[in-house]
Symmetry: C2
């Protein structure tokens, strides 16, 4: 169900880069490392250009990709990384004319090496990390392309290219952790023994997970849209229901479980979002009871409010009441109030709600939002590094 | 990009029924004609069962479809329409057990005939209509399956099966118009010369239209998701840009135009929703000026608020200012505030916003909504018919 290669979910772009890392194919990796002003995509956005001209991902809405492809050809020939600046603001004669992005975009092009492999493997494994790459250095101690990788789960750096003194890594640890968790990227210039070194700190957060409890016809559109929105999706069929067939080609995983045992069968952590839609009152109730005892921040329950009230009554009959905190994570009726009653419209309402909760947004119209469109991650380096 | 046949957009279900009407294939049409209590899908929902067992569309989340398929086999054999009641409420022993839909669903199964063809042709042509079918009658003047069709654009009825006295049609005209516009369906019992006749009034509203101005990489996910959400989608490339390639397989139409001439080139009516994302400041501005002079209720403009302010300044330089009414239809930054910066996440934010505006909803979480989940269309029949 995935679209053409230049507009695929981010998870698939990183997957393609990971595949290329592990293969013998020659490829060039293009990454947005800095944006001044506004641009369609943010720092950290990647595009992979294969030596045979295929590419995966895109850096803009198509404004720069042709130029990036020809630059990649030069990188294939020279084997040398390069940084290119594209001034899309109105004042620039070459790229500015009429495009109106008002942004200046710096793009790093580099021959793809296996130095990206550990970060991408961690991503596949559901772990966060930050790849730190030297863009420019005033000191010979560092060269463009020197790279270290901070692995969040392990809490330590892997030196991949170049020599990274311990005190530098110590100063980078907190920002690396912050960026890894947020999945944001920033370019910073640090002072190392009196010389300026410019680093691109590329936080790569593991994709959030969506678990869909239910294998009805209405589950497939939820799975499909959630995958497109960048979630790792697990479908859970109770007692094997619906899990044997090829009903969910878009799911990352289809498992069978019993509703009362989902906490044992699944890793329900604070990055897991749950959608309960088995259409079976008893099963939904059992699953709900398990989910409120887990750290999942979102439990979406399909069905009208009246059904949930009946569920609460059934719980009350067993002397089970819910705290405000438990209730706050339950979203029922599930979804954003965007109207529509067709399966894909309902699925869109659900996945939009999950995204809003994941991103901690209040799902109003963006034209009513006062804050900036994108959350930036402020990172603070110690005094010496400013 | 469309999913399996039992969870396809409504537009595709109706398209498949239309195809079957025009072919020699034998098929049974199953339609939800009445829901008491709550159910996943609403009256008017259709499922087509082919004589070779293929089906398109679904009536529930999979709870009843197997049974509907076997009933369809009986309809194939007998050639007779039938109405089946499924009691999914907790009190019923057969279907109620644990499912917890709390609903009673009546389903009409009928051999598909070309009596549905005019309504579906109108739908394809972007016109509204209401198909009125006799479900039960105490008088011999009507038989189950008698059918008339109200064509909104023509403002008149077509008698398709049975004899429909003028006074009956006159009484049905207003409700038929109301349901056609809303795309809602209701079953009503009317008194005809002292006898009760139960009619299923199935309003079929033409699908809303989305016009995407722009052919960048970011447009394809918008087109894909809008199609899944039930929109007819036209992509407009300015001066031929992007319109020659096979870049938009999901679009219903890809056309080339000039931004200043879109009102001539396109039918921009009150059922058309516009997304302006050419990424070209001048083109976007020209298109915006055309759109605010058209009756389109929604003009989504890609880009940060600052860009729109610059656009307003450019307009002001030409002494063009906008009224509050004009500004109210402009949504910029485009989309709902659900976070995310990847192309599909942005597309979901856009299509969710268009759905919310189309359905006149305030895009909060549904758990905060006081009103019923589904809008019902109240229809009033004259006194004699109550």
């Amino acid at each position: 169900m995935l679209s053409r290669d230049w507009s695929v979910p981010e998870t698939d772009v990183l997957g393609a880069i990971h595949d290329a890392c592990q293969s013998d194919r020659q490829a060039v990796l293009a990454t947005i490392v800095r944006v001044e002003g506004s641009a369609y995509r943010r720092p950290g956005t990647k595009m992979l250009i294969d030596s045979d001209g295929d590419d995966v991902g895109s850096l803009t809405a198509g404004c720069l990709e042709d130029e990036v492809r020809s630059l990649a050809t030069a990188v294939f020939k020279s084997g040398e990384s390069r940084i290119e600046r594209f001034d899309l603001s109105g004042d620039d004669d070459v790229w500015g004319l009429g495009i109106g992005c008002n942004g200046v975009i710096d793009i790093l092009l580099e021959p793809l090496t296996d130095t990206f492999e550990p970060a991408l493997r961690a991503f596949e494994d559901g772990e966060n990390g930050t790849v730190i790459t030297v863009l420019d250095s005033e000191t010979e101690a560092f060269t463009r392309g020197d790279r270290t990788y901070y692995h969040d789960d392990a809490g330590e750096f892997h030196e991949l290219v170049g020599t990274w003194p311990d005190d530098v890594l110590n100063r980078l640890k907190d920002p690396a952790l912050t960026l890894a968790t947020a999945g944001n990227a920033e370019t910073v210039t640090v002072d190392i023994l009196g010389s300026a070194v410019t680093l691109f700190c590329n936080g790569i957060a593991a994709p959030p997970k969506l678990v869909v409890f239910g294998t009805g016809y209405d589950a497939a559109p939820v799975v499909e849209l959630a995958r497109l929105a960048g979630f790792r999706v697990t479908v859970v069929g109770f007692r094997g229901a619906g899990t044997a067939s090829d009903q969910f080609p878009d799911a990352n995983r289809v498992v069978s479980s019993s509703p009362a045992q989902i906490r044992d069968a699944l890793e329900l952590d604070e990055r897991t979002y749950a959608v309960v839609m088995s259409h079976n009152f008893v099963d939904d109730r059992l699953a709900l009871e398990e989910l409120v005892q887990s750290p999942v921040p979102y439990i979406g329950l399909m069905g009208p409010h009246k059904r949930f009230e009946e569920m609460l009554e059934a719980f009350a009959d067993e002397d089970r009441t819910f705290t405000e905190t438990e209730l706050s994570s339950i979203y029922t009726p599930i979804g954003l109030d965007i109207g529509g009653s067709a399966p894909y419209q309902i699925a869109m309402s659900i996945v939009s709600e999950v995204l809003a909760v994941y991103n901690d947004r209040s799902p109003d119209h963006l034209r009513n939002r006062d804050a900036a469109l994108h959350d930036r991650t402020e990172i603070v380096l110690d005094k010496q590094s400013q």
